[in-house]
Symmetry: C2
Subunit: 389 residues, 2 copies
């Protein structure tokens, strides 16, 4: 890994009149330095960055490609470093969606000769377009989703509970070296790493932040994800199984039926499959994201599911998917408000679901990479409605 990521950030900083940036968030640090240890990275608008190490210096020195590694990272040290770079005023970028108020106030006082500005939008915009090595790791995660899917086909039985299935998936996934943590940038959201496993009437209870098939969880302390509900013959079961492999995520979902699918289940699933195929067929470089969202909404209406697409009533997600990478939920948001073109090497989770009260939900989600002429699905699992148990 070379310095080109930092150089690209510096280009964006100069275009935005940002004199320097202080990066402290572990995913952003990992992206720019190769280490996610507790560090503060000082990036001048031009010239070499300095990496201050708060902990685990031995690890940092073997992990990073940054040449100037120093011990410490207090505001005083960071200020001295900026002065040595010849930057004694101007706009200083910080991660405004990460730095907490107590730290923000310390930084504001220490850097009173500068004005502070949120630099996360630049960082996340850069991270939106993936490099080949990053795409390989998302593929690695997607292949492990295939293992999860095979495990579900093999083990899901009537009488088993949602959390028991979670345990079976965890056993396989953790042994295959997926991380036991999903990285989410929001300060107030967490997801279960063995998947959001949801069945029966839980399919149309929408809890927490995400307007999706959330499940109800085990208690109000974490009221989403798998519950102790046991699968019954005839149940629909949705498994939304994001994975983190060596720091990179995939996000895939399949829908199952316990026993034989009813005609109605087949019909509703057929519609969501048709919709997802339609959506994927629209995605290629140079096409507007908001325009594709509008086309998909039109298709939903043609299919007759406009009341249930991505939720129902007041609880509806207004999106078709999102970027995935070092965090599970990244730019771009695939929505009607994103006036931005699809680009080669974006990695996206494209998700179509119908959530229907008193019926259940069908949900198909694929992680794809955008190539020259369209998008490629990274999982090799079939995209059918699966009869299991």
């Amino acid at each position: 890994m070379s310095k080109h990521r930092i150089q690209k950030l510096q280009e964006m900083m100069r275009a935005d009149n940002i004199s320097a940036a202080i990066i402290i968030q572990p995913r952003d640090l990992y992206y720019y330095t190769g280490t996610s240890q507790p560090c503060n990275l000082v990036v001048p608008h031009t010239g070499d960055p300095v990496l201050f190490v708060r902990r685990a210096e031995d690890f940092v020195r073997t992990e990073t490609w940054i040449e100037d590694v120093q011990t410490g990272g207090s505001p005083k040290q960071l200020l001295k470093s900026l002065h040595e770079m010849g930057i004694s005023s101007g706009v200083l970028g910080i991660e405004g969606d990460i730095v907490v108020a107590n730290l923000y106030l310390k930084l504001r006082d220490a850097f009173s000769d500068y004005s502070l500005k949120d630099i996360s939008p630049l960082v996340l915009t850069q991270r939106m377009i993936k490099e080949p090595g990053e795409i390989e790791l998302v593929k690695g995660a997607s292949h492990r989703f295939d293992l999860a899917h095979e495990t579900i086909l093999r083990t899901l039985r009537p009488g088993m509970s949602e959390v028991e299935l979670g345990g079976r998936l965890a056993e396989v996934l953790f042994a295959h070296e997926t991380e036991q943590v999903l990285f989410i940038r929001r300060w107030d959201d967490w997801l279960q790493p063995a998947g959001t496993i949801v069945s029966g009437e839980n399919l149309y209870q929408i809890s927490g932040h995400a307007m999706t098939v959330t499940g109800v969880g085990l208690s109000p302390a974490m009221p989403w994800g798998p519950s102790s509900r046991r699968f019954k013959k005839g149940d629909l079961v949705v498994v939304d199984n994001p994975l983190n492999y060596r720091g990179y995520h995939s996000d895939n979902t399949r829908t199952y039926v316990v026993g034989k699918a009813s005609n109605r289940q087949k019909e509703v699933y057929g519609a969501v499959r048709e919709l997802q195929d339609y959506a994927l067929a629209q995605i290629r470089p140079g096409i507007w994201i908001d325009e594709v969202y509008r086309l998909v909404i039109r298709k939903v209406t043609e299919l007759g599911y406009e009341e249930y697409f991505q939720g129902y009533g007041k609880q509806r997600g207004q999106y078709l998917g999102h970027g995935v990478g070092l965090e599970l939920d990244e730019l771009p948001v695939l929505s009607g408000r994103t006036h931005l073109k699809f680009e080669k090497n974006m990695v996206l989770a494209v998700e179509c679901k119908f959530i229907i009260p008193d019926f259940g939900a069908v949900f198909l989600e694929d992680t794809v990479v955008i190539e020259e002429n369209g998008c490629q699905i990274l999982s090799s699992s079939e995209r059918d409605l699966f009869e299991v148990g």
Copy 2:
């Protein structure tokens, strides 16, 4: 659950001249309202609180004991609510260790007639003393640790990898309804929910924030926790297995040997066991925490392990343990800088470890509740060095 937790917070607020507080962090919300859904809680210094619901209102209305539940939560609505409470200026408490800079700046602008102050120290001080129902849940978590320990005794074998053992624990623990997420208040720290499983030479590599037996993880993207290292005859294996059961944590650690323990391993373990027994014997209501820390340090020196207690060289934890509850790492910190008395119904993780380069580590950690005359260990697992495989 009644309003007494809010009334206690209001007492502390009045003593600190805080006019009102806005609570948004999910653990704090859960503590004061019974729901951890996306909400903003407005607490006046006296009188009834108002709970604003940003998402999942149906869930909130069944979960909370707050009577005044309203839809929304924008700064404008919060401001209106404060005015209706008759509070149009004064000190406004926010969680300064949680609220991110972008949100802080919005709140500062919206509440320009108030001065903002970090209220988390009050909240965390209140949460330090547990109620009977909370202690029961920590016991529930501790009993599940016993299941993890039994699983280790039954399954750990030479040739198995650290992550494979993690998968086995996950299968058992998730099926027994532990949460798949550990709640940590720091904005930049995450831990694997199936435990920090560390063996052989990994035992003396100290990575990340925590000065403890961290392991090296699977990649620099998350360089702590279980790795793909396979257990060998003669290895020491430390399993630090914090658990989250219905929102409440336990934190326990045991040390194992693959095959027969050597005399040296037995000797070092014997010392850590003696130290931990000594530490636990000191803890009872009315005794100073910093004084106990000093006594323990003196005992370490008597035992001859002063170079290795809680780490070695520059990488040493200066603490004997910490509170546990709705978050894994709570007040009080058991350190030489905590001039505070132990109190009845504190729930604490007490942890003694020696980390010795080129030897390994021995680590014994117990979650205890402080009762009238001393402390009670909540796990029923033996506290020995276990020969396995």
